[in-house]
């Protein structure tokens, strides 16, 4: 099985990398950009159920205070 886990800062938690990217893009002349946010993706392959991936997120991949996670199945 193949899962995709997306980890991002929670709403209300500053995303400095997104902000810096926004600034840099505007400096490069992309004036239309209004907001940038970032996230991290983990693509996990192996024998694991959704519950296990949930547990991976809670145990390791995301910090429950500052980050949200989303799990998506990519392949059976």
């Amino acid at each position: 099985m193949k899962w995709e886990v997306r980890v991002a800062y929670k709403r209300g938690v500053q995303d400095p990398e997104g902000e810096t990217t926004l600034e840099a893009l505007r400096m490069l002349g992309f004036k239309g950009v209004k907001r940038v946010s970032t996230a991290k993706l983990f693509v996990i392959e192996g024998e694991c159920t959704r519950e296990e991936v949930e547990r991976m997120c809670r145990r390791l991949l995301a910090n429950p205070v500052s980050q949200d996670y989303e799990i998506r199945r990519l392949a059976p």
Partner: protein, 267 residues
Amino acid sequence: MKPGEVRILVLRSAGTNCDAETASAIAELGARAEVVHVNRFIRGRRSLEEFHGMVLPGGFSYGDRIRSGAVLAKLLSHRLRRELQRFVDEGRPILGICNGFQVLVESGLLPFGEVGQVKLALAKNASARFEARWVYLLKCSATPFTGKLPRVSRMPVANAEGRVVFPPGEEQSLLEELEESSQIVLRYCTREGEPARGDYPANPCGSFADIAGLASPEGTILGMMPHPERAFYRYMYPDWTRDSALGMGDGCAIFEGMLEHILKSQG
């Protein structure tokens, strides 16, 4: 007990890199510091029981991949849970410096001393950069570690993820709770000792409430972003050439406090 009998564990893992200078700071004060790899404990070759106190030094444990300190923290809370909880419950002091602070937060040892209960985060610095600079610290409460620290002290930070984040929506209540139990130990401040109020670069990481260091309710666990081992002697300061007094630096007090606490509690 004599100072020479105090045994401090400097715990390392892959990517720890401030262990040598940290151990040497402790040794300068006459105690015995031993740098041991976490695998030795996991494989049962060594035991935390052998030590009176523990330091989690700075560095990039496991490359700070996923999140700073996360992998080592989860390894500790998963594979050494009982031993570690006992260490804490017996009141043996633990000092986490920089990456060590991150480990303490990610393992749940801070702020409430409960392994596995993550209540805080140390997120990417507001500047989105690695920040290597000297800061001023305001002592906000006395713990065993900070008894001898002056009200305003100086030490360097060097990290990319040192921004203390409280759970969104619960910031104020948690802050009050921690303040009440004197757990907020160090805050970033100005040269004059005024709170940094989030200003960069006085608060170099953008930490909530200018928090630079936190303790457990009993005060026996301290996590701090700045590096006391790099402010151990005055000659380590960036501006020591401007005055002639070359003696101990502020960082020394943190280790002294830890050792004295051990000596006192061990009788």
